[in-house]
């Protein structure tokens, strides 16, 4: 089975107060931040690896981004992908449509039985990309996939709906899936593995190489401004013996209209 996994580079946002908006007000200050593979995409990569281990075939990891995004392709190769392709285009705060168009153009040129995306990105979180690419390719798709089992020409999947309800489908291949977290446990990418992956060559191409001209890549949606959420009120710390603090807490909650 030939699988394409589309991945994105995002910053490590484990501590929100490390995030600052830059002077353009359309991006974040990147100095001092650490970057990684988007969480959802790591689950998609792991799903691809498990399918390959079971059924054989190839995995191609694809990303659209500037040169520093090579590091996530190296990580994907260290994880077990066979090939890494980067389309050199700066997609910071970009319209998902443009990224979808670029990805669709690359994927069309590659053998693919299954195309996997993470269900959404940790930074912009629009969750649009996978469905857009599937529509552009004219192949069936399912989003928010939480389990999958593949046969030669079809795949059985479940997707998660509200309140954990599951919906199951059997889909003919080729197909596209957007993968939800929790579907598997992505393997650890050792530094030794990354070092070995440094020896592998990455394929880098420009949108122009794909026949996409500048006027085809004009965003339909433009990011106006990024803002940090307003700070909430300070927490009120009630200290003292439980006999007294319990009463004070009840009073505070009552005053706040909680009960």
């Amino acid at each position: 089975m030939d699988i394409i996994a589309c991945i994105k580079r995002v910053c490590d946002t484990s501590e929100a107060d490390a995030i600052k908006i830059d002077s353009s007000q359309r991006d974040i200050e990147k100095s001092g931040l650490a970057f990684k593979i988007n969480d959802w995409d790591e689950y998609a990569l792991e799903a691809a690896l498990q399918l390959k281990e079971k059924l054989g075939g190839t995995i191609t990891a694809v990303t659209v981004g500037p040169q520093e995004w090579n590091d996530i392709l190296r990580r994907a190769l260290a994880m077990g992908a066979d090939t890494g392709i980067r389309i050199d285009h700066d997609v910071a705060s970009e319209d998902p449509y443009i990224v979808a168009l670029i990805l669709k153009t690359v994927i069309q040129r590659l053998p693919h039985d299954l195309v996997l995306f993470g269900a959404q990105s940790e930074d912009f979180g629009s969750g649009q990309l996978g469905a857009m690419v599937a529509e552009m390719l004219g192949i069936p798709h399912a989003t928010l996939v939480v389990s999958l089992e593949a046969e030669e020409n079809k795949i059985h999947i479940s997707r998660e709906l509200e309140a954990g309800t599951l919906e199951s489908y059997t889909i003919e291949l080729p197909a596209l899936l957007t993968i939800h977290t929790g579907i598997n446990q992505p393997r650890y990418i050792s530094l030794g593995g990354i070092k070995k992956a440094m020896e592998k060559e990455l394929q880098v191409m420009s949108p122009n190489d794909l026949g996409l001209s500048v006027d085809m890549l004009i965003p339909m949606v433009k990011l106006k401004r990024l803002e940090l959420p307003p700070k909430g009120k300070e927490a009120e710390l009630i200290t003292g013996q439980p006999e007294a603090t319990a009463g004070q807490l009840a009073k505070t909650l009552k005053e706040a209209g909680i009960f």
């Binding site: 931040l33 650890y188 050792s190 530094l191 030794g192 593995g193």
Partner: protein, 393 residues
């Protein structure tokens, strides 16, 4: 990986599971392997792990989450190595670490271990806190960035980020200031020492950390290092020489012992308490330093030092080694080693459980709360006790 390719293929079969590895040197308790004490199953003892490793590498059993958890519940406390009566005992812990390395290379490790290592890859600390916040602990202390001082004060990840351990990092800084020790710190430029990374089997990441730290120390002209944590001390003293890092490394307790010997610390303020001291594995069993902490505590007026039955090379690990202060495969039970240990400390009648390791400190602080002993037993780092005896607020 097959058994034939395994570094210890020729020796791992020599363990016939006599079971000595679970005992302390003084034989007083069968539960001196922290993981065995927690789970009470042979698989969690060193011998059990060696047999499982052999079965895994020879294809008799498959990798499983459970197998990974069994290996990673080893805290690398070295009790097994000290107690094993056979000649190949010098390698029994290395055999487990080598098996962990196989799991790391295959990417198949418990999710908490994965998180621990990824955080260090990205942010240089296991918590995943930003590198730019590493030096926040020292705000307002007047501690200087290292610039040609006699000592680099290497604080480590726990002392830099854990709020309770930060108090200890500041207390030690103030004690050294008061004694007129010339020292500086690296602040946000300090990186993980890698000791736990090494014991978790991530060899390449450890090599990178060691190489980067050695290069940084040399660039700054550092010759003498004093560490807050015995874990840092162990890596820098015993492993960094393999990366051309031949620094004069000491744990702070050795520095304080020397300062007291030279009469450079006025501890006349004293510390009125009955104290029992817990030997941290990476100071004791790993580096044979048992007397310096006792010398320091005995020198302080007002301290009555009493020993737990398991002390020195018979110490029971707090359960925090081998990354377990974060990956926590031994927690969640009254048989968790830290809880067993604080009960043991409490049974001596001591009011203070003294430690000389930020990992032990955080483990025991939690255990004292879980045991409901807050009113009777307090956990204090020796540096805090010395600070108080010096009249430092």
């Amino acid at each position: 990986m097959t058994l034939a390719d395994y570094k210890y293929a020729d020796t791992i079969h020599r363990c016939f599971r006599c079971g000595y590895c679970k005992f302390p040197v003084n034989w007083m308790d069968v539960n001196n392997c922290p993981a065995y004490a927690r789970f009470r199953m042979e698989t969690y003892s060193c011998g059990g792990r060696l047999w499982l490793t052999r079965a895994w590498l020879s294809g008799e059993i498959d990798w499983s989450d459970h197998l990974a958890e069994i290996l990673y519940s080893c805290t690398a406390c070295k009790n097994c190595e000290v107690k094993c009566p056979l000649r190949f005992n010098v390698d029994i812990l290395n055999m487990i670490i080598a098996a962990k390395s196989e799991m790391v290379e295959a990417g198949r490790i418990p999710s908490s271990v994965k998180k621990f290592l990824e955080n260090i890859q990205r942010q240089g600390n296991p918590y995943g806190h930003p590198r730019v916040k590493r030096g926040e602990w020292m705000e307002g202390t007047g501690i200087e960035p290292y610039q040609g001082h006699d000592f680099l004060y290497y604080v480590g990840c726990v002392g830099s980020y854990d709020t309770r351990a930060q108090e200890v990092a500041r207390a030690l800084g103030k004690v050294m200031q008061k004694a007129g020790v010339s020292f500086g710190v690296l602040g946000n430029d300090e990186n993980c020492d890698g000791n736990e990374v090494n014991k978790l089997g991530e060899e390449t990441l450890f090599e990178m950390l060691a190489e980067e730290n050695v290069a940084q120390f040399k660039k700054l002209g550092i010759q003498k290092v004093v560490t807050l944590s015995p874990h840092s001390y162990n890596a820098m003293k015993n492993d960094y020489p393999m990366f051309n890092g031949d620094f004069n490394v000491m744990h702070y307790i050795q520095l304080l012992d020397g300062l007291l010997g030279d009469d450079r610390l006025d501890i006349s303020g004293g510390y009125n308490a009955t104290v029992t001291y817990h030997d941290p594995c990476f100071l004791g069993r790993w580096n044979n330093e048992y007397e310096a902490p006792r010398n320091v505590l005995k020198a302080i007026p007002g301290i009555q030092l009493i020993e737990m039955e398991r002390n020195r090379d018979s110490t029971l690990c707090c359960g925090g080694g081998g990354g377990n202060f974060y990956i926590d495969l031994l927690g969640g039970s009254e048989r968790s080693p830290a809880r067993i240990r604080v009960r043991e400390a409490h049974a001596t009648g001591a009011g203070i459980l003294a430690v000389a390791c930020p990992n032990c400190l955080t483990m025991f602080e939690d255990a004292v709360k879980a045991e409901g002993l807050e009113e009777e037993l307090a956990v204090r780092d020796v540096s805090e006790i010395v600070a108080e005896a010096c009249g430092i607020k």
